[in-house]
Structures are given as structure tokens and as C-alpha cells.
């Protein structure tokens, strides 16, 4: 069981004009909306972080084993706004039944624009997590569970023992997602997420139109038990518990009972590092796609780059990063990395689209933005990037 805890650093919309001569340390105030972030952080803390960490602590005491990844984006917000939330996670992660997983700290597409900087970011994220939780971190995720050939080798160079990846049919072919894999002839172990079983809980649990609703722990434990292979990897947003599925959906009771039902069916729970140590010598190979896979949408990058607005922002992300590099200023480079955050593409997936994926995207779009209208959101979001790039004119001389 893997969950990732993340809160985005949201852009400030509508975009604010950045006055000429604004010093680097004041630029962030024009780009990012701390107030909005605080609002959503508090909301999610109340619905999810506090009750879910308490529930999982209780489960961990009863033998439940899970792993948790933290984006630095979340950790910074927790440090600023809620020691209680952070303490809750620290206490949870102190359990020997919980493993801390490294996540790309900016929750960004940094690997697309600068793979070497990505490696540095992963190494610093690992150190930060080890310092914060006082545990060794050997397993990793990236951003949106992205995995591609170059990212695989970057993570291997970083010295991680294993990583999560999405386990879609089109990526794995005949292979079941229920084994520990390696890219041929390489060392870094891969645990593919079982997307159907994961999405049964992650997306469909409270969908009353779903033929299997209400999902019972007995049925779900049977599905897990009946899986062919060695290991079932389930991956969710941590916010699934209490926020995506509210308390009254029964999600907490479900997880508590699931622990019992899995035990009854003799399903052992393993930490990711235990899984690869125990099952990683089976010789299963899965060449990692050069195009990359992610746990969002259909598993490819179409979810993030499927419409023209997303492609426009993606280009601006590159330009913003390149312009910041020209300044040589680490503080500006850091801001550019925040601007690479994947959420800025996730939040506009709905543009020109309809259907369940667009609904998911729109769900994550701050409701405060909708008063700008569809086109207004797209225009103002791009304007944030344009303003940043132009503000660096003097600094990049």
C-alpha cells in the first residue's frame, strides 16, 4: 500500500503584473497564492490528514503496513501552517510498519527539462525526508508516478533500490502488474501499481453508479487474494481517505475492516523495500517506456499534454526555467522549478474535454478560479509565466 501526500503551490490568478526592478526574493508573492493554499490545506487537514493519520496509526499498531511519499510542496505548507498535521505524520511514520518514500520535491516536470537537476532534487529530497522522519529512504516515486527510461536510469544513479511505476496493460503487455520487475539487465526494482484495484478504491469507492457499489472489504480482499502473481501494489493519493472520499462514505471503516479481511485470507502486507528484497530475484523484466507512463488518466502523458492550453503552458515552463538558468540566480531557479509543478497542467486537463478524466481535473481546479471562466483561467495561468519570464529581463542581462 502506497499513498502520496501532496498539496500544490497554486498560481495566483488572475495574474499580477510584476513591477520592473522587483527583487528575486519578492517575486514569489506575485506568482503563488499562499492564501489559497492555506485555505485548501486547512480544509484537507480537517477532512483527511488529521483523521486519516490517526486511523492509519491505529491500523499500523495492528500490523497494517504501508508506505507514504511526501512532496516538499506539502511539507513546506505543513511546517508553515500546521505542526499538528506534521506531527501526525511523524508519529505515523515512526511506526516500523510504515516506510517513507521519496517523491520529486517540487512535484514537477523537472525531469523533462533538466534530468541532472532532477537527480539533484531527488537526492536532496531523500536527505530532507531522512532528516525529518529519521528513517532511511530507499524507495522512490517521482511526480504523478511518472516513469520513463531516462528517469529510471537517473533514479538508479541516485542509488535508490526501487521505484513505483504505473502498471497499465499497454505498458506491461502480457505482464501482470503483480511481480517485482527490473528494466532488462539493470538493478533498480520496479513495483507496478495495480491500477484497476487501486482505482476501485481511489476513484470508484463512493460512486453509487458503479456496479460494485458499495464495495465491501470482504469483496475487495477477495479480489486482492485472487490476483495472480507475487505482490499487489496499491497506490493512492493520501487525500483519498477523508477528502476524495468523505468520512460518511465509510472509507475509514472500509480500511479498518480490510486489514482484518486481508489477514483472514492470509494476505501478507509488505513494505516496498521488503517486497523487492523478498521477491526481487525472480528475474521478471519489463523494459521501461521511453515515452513515459504516469498514474493519471490513461497512463500516458496525454492527460497532461493532451490539449493546446496544456501544451502552451508546458512550453512556457521550459522557457521560464531556461530564462532563470540564464540569470544564474539559485533563488530564481528555485522559483522556476515551482513553476514546473505538474498540477499546473493537471488543473487544466478539462479544457476542451469532457468525461470522467475532465471531471477529475476540474475537481482539483480551485473553485475560486471558475469566476474567471474557462478561457479566463487558461489566459491568466499563461500570463503568470509570461510575467515571470519578462521580470527576469534585467536579471538575465
Amino acid at each position: 500500500m502506497y499513498t502520496v501526500v501532496h498539496q500544490p503551490r497554486r498560481l495566483k490568478l488572475p495574474a499580477r503584473l510584476i513591477p520592473a526592478g522587483t527583487p528575486a526574493h519578492r517575486l514569489a508573492g506575485y506568482l503563488f497564492d499562499d492564501e489559497l493554499d492555506r485555505h485548501y490545506f486547512d480544509k484537507v487537514a480537517e477532512y483527511s490528514y488529521l483523521p486519516a493519520t490517526a486511523a492509519f496509526r491505529e491500523l499500523a499498531r495492528r500490523g497494517w503496513r504501508m508506505s507514504i511519499g511526501f512532496s516538499n510542496s506539502f511539507l513546506l505548507q505543513a511546517e508553515r501552517w500546521s505542526k499538528k498535521v506534521l506531527d501526525g505524520f511523524k508519529r505515523l511514520c515512526a511506526s516500523p510498519n510504515v516506510e517513507v518514500v521519496c517523491v520529486e520535491p517540487y512535484h514537477s516536470w523537472l525531469f523533462y527539462v533538466d534530468i541532472v537537476a532532477f537527480k539533484e532534487a531527488m537526492l536532496s529530497a531523500r536527505k530532507r525526508l531522512e532528516d525529518l522522519f529519521q528513517k532511511s529512504v530507499v524507495f522512490t516515486d517521482t511526480t504523478e508516478m511518472f516513469m520513463s527510461n531516462d528517469v529510471y536510469f537517473a533514479l538508479q544513479q541516485c542509488g535508490f533500490a526501487g521505484a513505483f511505476m504505473e502498471g497499465r496493460d499497454w505498458q506491461l503487455g502480457w505482464r501482470d502488474p503483480t511481480h517485482v520487475y527490473r528494466h532488462p539487465m539493470q538493478d533498480l526494482a520496479l513495483l507496478p501499481r495495480h491500477h484497476q484495484l487501486s482505482d476501485d478504491v481511489g476513484y470508484r469507492f463512493s460512486n453509487q453508479a458503479w456496479s460494485m457499489w458499495p464495495l465491501t472489504p470482504e469483496v475487495y480482499a477477495d479480489w486482492v487474494r485472487e490476483c495472480w502473481g507475487d505482490v499487489v501494489t496499491l497506490g493512492w493519493d493520501f487525500e483519498t481517505f477523508g477528502e476524495h472520499h468523505r468520512r460518511d462514505s465509510g472509507i475509514f471503516e472500509f480500511m479498518r475492516a480490510l486489514n482484518t479481511q486481508l489477514r483472514r485470507r492470509k494476505v501478507r502486507m509488505l513494505l516496498p523495500s521488503e517486497a523487492i528484497a523478498e521477491l526481487g530475484d525472480s528475474g521478471h523484466e519489463a523494459p521501461v517506456s521511453e515515452y513515459g507512463t504516469t498514474w493519471a488518466g490513461e497512463g500516458g502523458m496525454e492527460f497532461f499534454l493532451g490539449n493546446q492550453a496544456q501544451q502552451g503552458v508546458f512550453r512556457l515552463m521550459h522557457h521560464a526555467y531556461s530564462k532563470a538558468r540564464l540569470t544564474g540566480d539559485p533563488a530564481l531557479m528555485d522559483l522556476a522549478k515551482w513553476l514546473l509543478q505538474s498540477d499546473n497542467l493537471h488543473l487544466i486537463q478539462w479544457f476542451g474535454r469532457s468525461g470522467s478524466e475532465a471531471e477529475v481535473s476540474a475537481y482539483f481546479t480551485p473553485s475560486e478560479w471558475w469566476e474567471l471562466g474557462d478561457l479566463g483561467i487558461i489566459r491568466e495561468q499563461q500570463q503568470v509565466y509570461l510575467n515571470f519570464i519578462r521580470a527576469l529581463d534585467d536579471l538575465a542581462k
Binding site: 503487455g173 502480457w174 505482464r175 501482470d176 528494466h183 532488462p184 539487465m185 521478471h284 523484466e285 523494459p287
Partner: protein
């Protein structure tokens, strides 16, 4: 490419194989014959198949040149209904466990020893593993040392094949021009390499045994039909033809050996409704047993044999009867027809994959599914004994052209083509030793 038997290793991948447990149709017979013939030609040959769970996982034959590798036995132990019982689980196990084992234990050592390796996959079940083996070889830097061919023996499972991946990994072949045309429907243009028969199947039946069987049958028309109870085999057409002859006042003895398939009940029901007297009997152990059964079944028009028949008995029956009805409506190759020819019998084939059959030259080739066609053709043959003798003689000559040794010659030539398409480079040829140079007598001594 020099496919010298001393420097070439063949690997055959097939769900069906030589074990009784592993045989369901022509594929098991094919791989058994092909593997044995390759080994007898001197090639080290590995045959991976879903073997009998009670037999050893590894077994050597032909003085160690033929090596059986029985796969998925732990699943077969729980699915004892034959090779395709537990099929989906076997596919998964095959895909996940066979490629790494094959590469590490067979292919990589063979290449290190300077050998060529040829991998032959059979049927849709192995299509994924071909791609996996190709991928794994690529990542080990060995893909350019292995020729990979995948063969379609039937149209089963075509909807599940990733054709793009399979074509990328291997050269696709099939067993007849009919199959080639059927595969055009799937956007494929395979190379045709025919099936073969073993040299041992070309036999001269004992005339006394043949005569004994014929006289015991004691009918105007003595026919035999063998195969699965599958509508494609046109059992109903054969039964209807027998019934028509009976209604015309002829005596008919139609001996049938089908399988356990449910269509069998339909066939028997149809026979009784057509007015044929049916007798069900276990398969006799030998020709004298069969003769006794025939003598004891004077009243029966149709004898349905309900258990296994030995190859030797089948060959005698092929030779003895007036016609063997291999009248399928869809036959990828039609091995039975060729085996009938090899035994000196009269094969009545359909007109799909039986490339070897030529009407009135070496067989009776049916063009329709109308029972009257069988009645007419076989009634005419009764009046033309010289034509019948010619068909038997030329049939046997045809069979000789399809013995595995000759088919393997074609296969080896096709492997060259496949190797060129797959950019396979052979191991370095051993360099001829340079002739020792002698000092010219004219060379003045130094110093």
C-alpha cells in the same frame, strides 16, 4: 548462413507436444515429428511444451540431441483435462517464467559456444513469449544472434495476437497457402512452410492384414474418418453420404474415431435419424481385434470407436478401407490426408489447406459440402480400379515429398531469409588455417 548441425541449436516452443496429455490436434503431432527429425538430422533440439505433470520436467531423447522441457507442470497437475485445461494460467506462467530460463540456460550458453540459435514458436499461445524473448535478447546484446520464426497452424486466437509486436520480434510463417490467404484478412503475409510427416509413416501395410480387414468389413463401401468432433471436419456430411448410399441399396461400413467434444453426440444423433445403425465400441488394440469387431458388427452401418487407436492400427485401416474421409471445410494443412497417402490409402480431402492434394492424381478432392459429392465420387471410383491403384501409388509418392527431412530442407532455406530480415549475424566462421610459409629456396641466407 551456414546452419551446420554441429553449430546450430533449435528451440521449439509449443503448448502441444509429444505426451498424450499434450496432444489435442495436429500441432502435437507436428512438433513431435519436427523436433525428432531435427535431432536425427544432427541438430541439438530443445522442445518446450506443456507436458504431462507426472513425467520428468526434463528428458533427453535421440541420444541427447532432443531435449524435452515440460513447462507449466504445476498447473497441469491441477488441470488434468489435457494441454488446454487451465489455458490462461498456463499462458501467464509460460510468459513469465520461460523466456528468462530459456535465455539463461539455452540461448546464451549456445551463443557463447559459437552456435547459431533458431527459435520456432507455434500458435497464438507462444506469441507473447516470442516478443519477450526478442526483447530480452535485445537488451543482452544477443538479438542479432538468434533467428526467430513464429508459425500459425490454425486461425485460433488470432484476435488475441499483438501482430505488430510479433512481426517485430519474428518472421511469421504458416503451413499452407490457404492459411496464408486467411492471414491476409489480418494484414499478415506469412511465409509458407508446409507440415511434414515422419519417414516411418510411409509404410507398406501387410496385404494379408489389409485383405482380412476388407473381408471382415464385408461392405460395398468401407470408409474411415478420424479427427476431433468439430463441425469444421464435416462429420455430418460424411454420415449423410453413408446414409444416402444405404438408401440406394448399398452396404456401407463407416468406422469413426472422434474425440470427447460435444459435437459427437450431434453426429450420432444425426446418423440414427438418417437411418444408420450405430454401434459404439472401444478401439481395438490391433488389426486382428479390428477385424473381429468388424465381423461382429454386421448389422452396424456406423462403428463409433470410443477410445484410443494405436498408430499402427490406424495405418492398416487407412490402407484397407475404400476411402478415408478427411473432408474438412476448414483445414489449415490436413495432416490426416497426407498420412493416408503415406499408408497407401485413398484420401478424400476438402479443398482448403491441403496443398499436397490434387484431385484424381493422388486424392479425391471435394469442392463442396454436399454429401452427394462424396457418394458420386466414391461410387465412380468403385468402377475404376486402375484409377484407384494410380491414386494410391501417386499418393505414396506425394507423401515422400513431405517427409520431415525434406520439409526441414525448405525450412533451413527460409531461415536464411528470416535471418536477413532480422539482421541476424552468425557467429564468426572458423578461419581456415593459413598454410605454413616456406622460405623460398631462392632466398639468400641472412647474415
Amino acid at each position: 548462413m551456414n546452419l551446420d548441425p554441429r553449430r546450430t541449436v533449435f528451440v521449439i516452443l509449443s503448448f502441444e507436444g509429444p505426451d498424450v496429455y499434450s496432444q489435442a490436434g495436429g500441432l502435437g503431432v507436428r512438433v513431435k515429428g519436427l523436433a525428432r527429425s531435427l535431432a536425427r538430422a544432427g541438430y541439438l533440439t530443445y522442445l518446450y511444451f506443456c507436458g504431462d505433470p507426472d513425467l520428468p520436467g526434463e528428458e533427453e531423447q535421440e541420444g541427447g540431441r532432443l531435449r524435452y522441457r515440460r513447462w507449466c507442470q504445476w498447473i497441469s497437475a491441477m488441470h488434468r483435462g489435457g494441454v488446454y485445461d487451465g489455458e490462461e494460467g498456463k499462458i501467464r506462467d509460460w510468459n513469465s517464467s520461460l523466456p528468462p530460463s530459456l535465455i539463461e540456460n539455452v540461448i546464451a550458453p549456445a551463443i557463447s559456444a559459437g552456435n547459431h540459435v533458431v527459435v520456432l514458436g507455434e500458435e497464438w499461445h507462444t506469441s507473447w513469449s516470442m516478443k519477450l524473448i526478442s526483447d530480452a535478447l535485445y537488451y543482452r546484446g544477443l538479438r542479432d544472434r538468434v533467428v526467430m520464426l513464429w508459425n500459425a497452424n490454425n486461425t485460433y486466437g488470432f484476435n488475441r495476437i499483438d501482430w505488430t509486436g510479433l512481426n517485430f520480434a519474428s518472421t511469421v510463417t504458416t503451413v499452407s497457402r490457404y492459411m496464408k490467404f486467411r492471414m491476409w484478412e489480418w494484414g499478415q503475409n506469412p511465409i509458407v512452410i508446409p507440415n511434414g510427416i515422419s519417414r516411418e509413416s510411409i509404410v507398406e501395410a501387410d496385404p494379408q492384414v489389409v485383405e482380412d480387414l476388407r473381408s471382415s468389413a464385408g461392405a460395398d463401401h468401407f470408409w474411415f474418418k478420424i479427427g476431433r468432433f468439430d463441425p469444421d471436419k464435416r462429420w455430418l456430411m460424411a454420415v449423410s453420404a453413408a446414409a444416402q448410399l444405404k438408401r440406394r441399396g448399398n452396404t456401407v461400413k463407416l468406422v469413426m474415431r472422434g474425440g470427447k467434444e460435444p459435437h459427437g453426440a450431434e453426429v450420432m444423433n444425426h446418423a440414427q435419424h438418417q437411418g444408420l445403425v450405430v454401434r459404439n465400441a472401444p478401439g481395438p488394440p490391433d488389426a486382428s481385434g479390428m477385424a473381429a469387431l468388424l465381423r461382429d458388427s454386421k448389422q452396424a452401418d456406423l462403428i463409433n470407436l470410443t477410445s484410443f487407436l494405436k498408430d499402427s492400427l490406424v495405418m492398416n485401416v487407412y490402407a484397407a478401407c475404400d476411402a478415408v474421409l478427411a473432408n474438412s471445410g476448414h483445414e489449415p494443412f490436413g495432416l490426416v490426408g497426407l498420412e493416408v497417402m503415406a499408408a497407401g490409402g485413398i484420401a478424400v480431402t476438402g479443398s482448403t489447406g491441403e496443398d499436397y492434394a490434387e484431385g484424381y492424381r493422388n486424392a479425391v478432392v471435394l469442392e463442396t459440402d454436399d454429401p452427394i459429392e462424396i457418394v458420386t465420387e466414391l461410387s465412380v471410383l468403385k468402377e475404376k480400379p486402375r484409377l484407384v491403384a494410380g491414386l494410391r501409388k501417386r499418393g505414396r509418392a506425394t507423401a515422400r515429398d513431405y517427409v520431415w527431412e525434406k520439409v526441414i530442407e525448405q525450412l533451413l532455406l527460409r531461415i536464411d531469409f528470416a535471418a536477413a530480415r532480422q539482421a541476424v549475424t552468425g557467429p564468426e566462421e572458423p578461419q581456415p588455417r593459413a598454410a605454413a610459409r616456406r622460405a623460398s629456396r631462392a632466398t639468400p641466407p641472412r647474415g
